[in-house]
């Protein structure tokens, strides 16, 4: 049995494609077997809705009269600083940027009520955003100051460009110390008081395509409620990790770099997020369709929570000190039961990633495909795979000596 993306697209256009979510495929594969299921199913849709810090937006705000060169100047959107090291009126707004007067962790744990992610959410919600800029002035761009409201609908471009999203697997965060710690894995209570995890497991895009056989550069996806594309492999993409017999990595592995037009996205799928004591970020909704080109591909999508394992990491010592210690592996089925056992202790679990929203994304994408509104794309180039030789290197610090 084998199909091509062109054949699947023909069926989508005729409204005849069989599309199921990565959750629904489990029952079908169990009842009918992999071979029959692969014959019947054309597309499996995945979904994830999680805080993803390496997200941001390139904005072109348009030229003022007289002109001002923001490049090399200072620009704030609702008091949040943006990056201006670009051409005259292009700026980059990052999800984790914070207002300069935010107390951050000086009042510990910092609340991080408003940052770049929140500005992105308000932009998408078509709210007016206050822009304040100072520039140095040139002959062709004489103006030195600009204060104005801007709105997504009026500016030339707003391109969501997330340089690392959709991590293929993630660690489970715990705390072995005797005090509460505030991390990007949430609030972790002392002495193994809780354990937090962060992917949608059996629904997660790259966990359903462990060897990147269908997802590649150019893959069209659901991004932030609109259409987006895989632009590249994400930063820290690391295919060469320990994998199970089913090919699923047992720690963080592949990542995706995603791009899309912010103007057609929706605020309910790009949510400004505050991690107590850690910082601001953006919760991003992503859904990737997987074309069932062969039995092998279907077998990958039939992965269940019981077949996906995540490493348990202590965030009080091992993580901050870059120690490789792992307290064991645990399956997503166990994590989702609400309790796991670590060092003989019963530890309650919680997720930072929304499973109900991941289901909603997978269903929305399924609906788009069924209605013929969304056709699949073949990748123009593959993501680096386990043979690529890519490794994930720590920083090799080289002390800077004063010249004698």
């Amino acid at each position: 049995m084998s199909k091509t993306i062109a054949e699947i697209n023909e069926k989508i256009k005729k409204g005849k494609a069989v599309v199921v979510t990565a959750e629904e495929v489990l029952d079908i594969a169990r009842k009918k077997g992999i071979s029959k299921a692969a014959e019947e199913i054309d597309v499996v849709t995945t979904g994830t809705f999680s805080p993803m810090c390496s997200s941001g937006v390139f904005l072109n705000i348009g030229h003022a009269k007289p002109r001002i060169k923001l490049g090399g100047g200072k620009v704030y959107l609702n008091d949040v600083p943006v990056y201006t090291g670009l051409a005259a009126v292009d700026v980059f707004l990052g999800a984790t940027a914070l207002p300069e007067d935010d107390p951050k962790n000086k009042i510990y744990p910092g609340e991080f009520r408003y940052g770049g992610g929140h500005v992105i959410e308000e932009l998408v919600a078509a709210k007016d955003i206050r822009l304040e800029a100072v520039a140095y002035g040139t002959d062709c761009y004489p103006r030195k100051k600009l204060e104005t409201w801007i709105n997504l609908k009026d500016i030339n471009n707003a391109i969501l460009f997330n340089v690392r999203n959709a991590y293929q697997n993630y660690e489970v965060g715990v705390n072995l110390s005797d005090r509460t710690i505030y991390t990007y894995m949430g609030v972790l209570k002392p002495e193994l008081g809780n354990a937090n995890y962060a992917t949608s497991g059996q629904l997660s895009p790259l966990l359903n395509d462990p060897y990147y056989k269908t997802i590649g550069i150019g893959t069209k996806i659901f991004l932030g409620g609109g259409i987006g594309y895989v632009a590249w492999h994400g930063t820290q993409h690391n295919p060469n990790v320990l994998r199970g017999d089913n090919g699923v990595p047992e720690e963080g592995a592949g990542t995706l770099s995603l791009i899309g037009d912010l103007k057609q996205m929706k605020p309910e799928w790009l949510i400004g997020t505050s991690m107590l004591g850690y910082g601001c970020t953006l919760t991003v909704g992503i859904g990737v369709p997987i074309p069932i080109l062969s039995e092998e591909i279907l077998r990958y999508t039939a992965v269940t929570d019981a077949d996906i394992f995540a490493p348990i990491i202590d965030f009080s010592e091992a993580y901050p000190q870059m120690k490789p210690d792992i307290l064991g592996h645990v399956s997503y089925a166990e994590l989702k039961s609400g309790h796991i056992a670590i060092q003989g202790k019963d530890v309650p679990t919680a997720s930072l990633s929304s499973y109900p929203k991941a289901v909603e994304i997978a269903n929305t994408l399924k609906n788009w495909i069924q209605k013929g509104k969304f056709l699949l794309t073949a990748p123009v180039a593959p993501l680096p795979d386990i043979e690529s030789g890519i490794t994930f290197k720590p920083l090799k610090e080289r002390p800077i000596m004063e010249q004698e």
């Binding site: 809705f49 999680s50 805080p51 744990p109 609340e111 009520r113 949430g186 609030v187 209570k189 008081g193 809780n194 937090n196 949510i271 400004g272 997020t273 505050s274 991690m275 107590l276 919760t283 989702k336 609400g338 309650p348 679990t349 919680a350 997720s351 930072l352 990633s353 929304s354 499973y355 109900p356 929203k357 289901v359």
Partner: protein, 136 residues
């Protein structure tokens, strides 16, 4: 008939020196469990407690509180989940000391049980999209 209610008491500044809770116990035979208490400079005092006892005594106790000028609110009005903002991630679930949050097993949506909430406020700052709000 015995009843048990969680209530929020607001004390005007002139009353913060009076042993109101002592009177509830002594005169009306009510038992109490204080969940939260605070007095801020220039502001009224706040007391959140669970008050239990015979229905008639409870009613008399509430009448006494009203007569001496204490404003009473029921607790459930004070902690609100912004349903549009909650993403049902579940980060709140194991931080809540009274297990007011739980997962609906089939959909994995986060359920919030007002009756179990003791208004400690832990969930308010720990909620990533900040969907929990405290109103006193």
């Amino acid at each position: 008939m015995n009843i048990s209610r969680r209530i929020v008491l607001h004390f005007p500044p002139r009353m913060t020196g009076q042993p109101v809770v002592y009177r509830l116990t002594k005169d009306f035979n009510l038992s109490f469990n204080i969940l939260k208490a605070s007095i801020s400079p220039g502001e009224e005092g706040l007391l959140i407690m669970e008050l239990s006892g015979d229905q008639r005594n409870y009613d008399k106790g509430i009448q006494y509180l009203t007569e001496v000028g204490v404003k009473i609110q029921s607790l459930s009005q004070d902690v609100v989940r912004d349903e549009a903002r909650c993403t049902h991630c579940g980060a709140c679930i194991n931080l809540c000391p009274t297990s007011a949050f739980s997962l609906e097993p089939k959909t994995r949506k986060v359920l919030f049980d007002h009756n179990k909430c003791v208004v400690c406020g832990l969930c308010v700052k720990a909620c990533p999209p900040r969907a929990m709000r405290l109103y006193f």
